[in-house]
């Protein structure tokens, strides 16, 4: 009965139990909900780290629900699994680490950020549910279970976007837009699951991957899944909801929403690499993902330069950075078929793309937290109204500089490490793509210099006289993020070698993924 081989479910079930208890605790006393939620998220962060160490040393972990033992995947008389199971491999736990860290820091940040007057228990309950649904999306090995957690993620994020909507109109409009987009996405995912169930009468990802034949139906299911999950991840053709949703949500929630849309990005990679892998013609689908990435990069940054609202500007940058990840992994997918090209630059491209997911979550989270700090003190998000804040908010200025330098890809910070990997490998695949990526990176730097100048520099404005530094819990959250950014920037190969590389290999080797389930322990 040692709890260690139950860690995959404990990471998820403890915050879920806490989320159910919070309305009761909220009735007893208001303040306790925040601290209770932060403690539970801290506990699940520790459990995620334990699970990560175990997976990187031993190998992918399986957890079957309701069977005689957690590892009994196949019932005695059948050749494929019938129960729901968690299949956590290196890629899943890589995303799990991002989710755990981002939501723990978001909870600490919102201890001081959210006003204590009302609706506190709803806020923390929704924050826990959003975290649980992201964990579920990243750990599950069952298609329908992924659909249920996708639905919880969209419900929780819509409710959190509308959190400030009781007396303001815009958050509810942003929430409505996001709700319509994510319910269409979830329904089309359900339609694709119906197609897979109709064809193979099985719902487990590894089991479908072993019998998939890339027939006419599978092409349609692949088309639906990739386009719909790209819409959820904020890629260009359907990115209209991203600036509204990110700018109207409270700052810590925007940080977690960035990680939530990256969970949909992870879902695209899981569908494309673990479900189809060689069976789909990799060049065509690879190029489609590359085009998604290029469009997102370019349109994201060009729209960002003309923005006046600081959070909308950062939201457009989030779209353009998602383009980098799609580009990196798209190149990896395009050359998946011929092993020589894959060894030469395909794997480094994917390493760059996936490492960029972690880096992006860190520095985009830091930037949104600094924007939240500015909003917390000055009450406005409009760059024209702000000015000369560097005089009063020293720490926030330092954190903003670190974040802006990291997103622009300046050397000592983590953005540079992953972008360099992408530039190198994409250049070998097709020089033009790499040049576009560099131009976009320069435009990113330009727009952040503009933000830094208009928000922080300039004379002391009269209306900001009484502005002082943000409370300690917000500074602590930002400090942890900037420490990670600097640490990843200085020792990138340490992270790439023993965290990102196993994740990439677990995506590429579909045989290992299916054999852990069907091979049966």
């Amino acid at each position: 009965m040692n709890l260690l081989n139950h860690t995959p479910i404990l990471i998820l079930a403890l915050p879920l139990l806490a989320a159910f208890l919070i309305p009761i605790i909220g009735k007893i006393n208001k303040k306790a909900t925040g601290i209770f939620a932060t403690l539970v998220l801290g506990l699940s962060l520790i459990l995620t780290i334990i699970l990560a160490v175990k997976i990187l040393s031993v190998g992918p972990q399986i957890y079957v629900f309701g069977a005689k033992s957690p590892l009994l995947t196949l019932p005695s008389s059948l050749k494929f699994p019938i129960r729901i199971m968690f299949q956590v491999d290196a890629m899943g736990i890589f995303m799990g680490l991002i989710t755990a860290l981002v939501s723990f820091l978001g909870a600490i940040y919102s201890l001081a950020f959210i006003d204590k007057k009302d609706g506190l228990d709803s806020y923390y309950s929704l924050l826990l549910l959003l975290t649980v649904s992201m964990f579920g999306m990243e750990f599950t090995g069952d298609l329908f279970n992924f659909f249920v957690f996708l639905e919880i993620a969209s419900m929780a994020s819509v409710s959190l976007i509308c959190y400030r909507g009781t007396d303001l109109g815009e958050p509810v409009e942003a929430g409505f837009k996001y709700m319509v987009v994510s319910s269409i996405a979830a329904l089309m995912v359900l339609f694709a699951i119906g197609i897979f169930y109709g064809e193979y009468d099985v719902l487990n990802i590894a089991a479908i991957a072993s019998v998939i034949k890339y027939s006419q139906l599978d092409k349609i299911a692949l088309g639906i899944l990739v386009s719909v999950l790209a819409m959820k991840a904020g890629a260009v053709p359907m990115h209209m909801w991203t600036p509204d949703a990110y700018s109207e949500a409270p700052a810590p929630i925007t940080m977690i929403l960035v990680a939530a849309s990256q969970a949909s990005l992870y879902a695209i990679f899981r569908v494309v690499f673990s479900l189809y892998n060689i069976t789909l013609n990799t060049l065509a689908v690879g190029w489609i993902i590359i085009i998604f990435g290029l469009l997102s990069m370019f349109i994201g940054v060009t729209m960002a330069i003309i923005q006046k609202d600081i959070k909308r500007l950062m939201a457009y940058h989030a779209i353009s950075q998602t383009g980098y990840m799609l580009l990196g992994v798209g190149v990896g997918l395009a050359v998946l078929a011929n092993p020589t090209a894959l060894q030469r630059y395909g794997i480094t491209a994917m390493e760059g793309g996936i490492f960029h997911i972690m880096n992006h979550a860190m520095y985009k989270g830091l930037l949104f937290l600094t924007a939240g700090a500015l909003f917390f003190r000055t009450g406005t998000r409009d760059l024209n109204k702000m000015g000369g804040l560097a005089h009063y908010m020293k720490y926030t200025t330092i954190f903003f500089i670190i974040g802006a330098a990291a997103i622009a890809g300046l050397p000592p910070f983590n953005g540079f490490a992953s972008k360099l990997l992408i530039y190198e490998s994409v250049y070998k695949f097709n020089p033009l793509l790499s040049i576009i990526a560099m131009v976009v990176s320069i435009l990113t730097l330009a727009s952040f210099v503009k933000v830094f100048h208009s928000a922080f520099l300039g004379p002391k404005l009269p209306q900001f006289i009484e502005v002082k530094e943000v409370p300690r819990s917000m500074v602590f959250a930002m400090a942890v993020l900037s420490f990670i950014i600097i640490f990843f920037g200085l020792f990138p190969d340490l992270i790439v070698k023993n965290l990102v590389h196993p994740a990439v290999m677990s995506l590429i080797e579909q045989f290992k993924y299916t054999s852990t389930v069907l091979g049966g322990m």
Partner: protein
């Protein structure tokens, strides 16, 4: 081809929902559109699980000697119906709140977020 006629009617049903979502301008109609697609896909799942001349998979006083319909789509549809209820409840509450703040529920007038 004619054997798959139930699937085609379900697809037409989903098509109406998508048509509403794309071309209607009223928020409540959008909610109805999403509900149509939701029910359409539930029907699609159920028609997947049908077996000719079979009985519901319940053993209490079941007519003896008959095969049973596939149970898994019914379990999936149960979950999907409750998700439909939750989605519709949330969308309608947001439509109410938008009406409270903007005074109208036409998509063209509810457009303060620009650019």
């Amino acid at each position: 081809m004619i054997g798959n006629f139930p699937y085609i009617t379900v697809i037409i049903y989903i098509g109406c929902g998508i048509y509403i979502l794309m071309f209607q301008k009223n928020l409540i109609k959008l909610a109805i559109g999403i509900n149509l697609i939701e029910n359409g896909i539930n029907l699609f799942l159920i028609t997947l699980g049908f077996k000719k001349g079979a009985v519901a998979p319940i053993y209490t006083q079941a007519p003896s000697g008959q095969s049973m319909v596939l149970p898994t789509p019914q379990a999936l549809t149960l979950t999907s119906i409750v998700i439909g209820v939750a989605t519709t409840a949330l969308i309608l509450s947001m439509a109410m709140m938008i009406y409270k703040h903007y005074g109208s529920i036409e998509v063209n007038e509810v457009r303060r977020l620009r650019g």
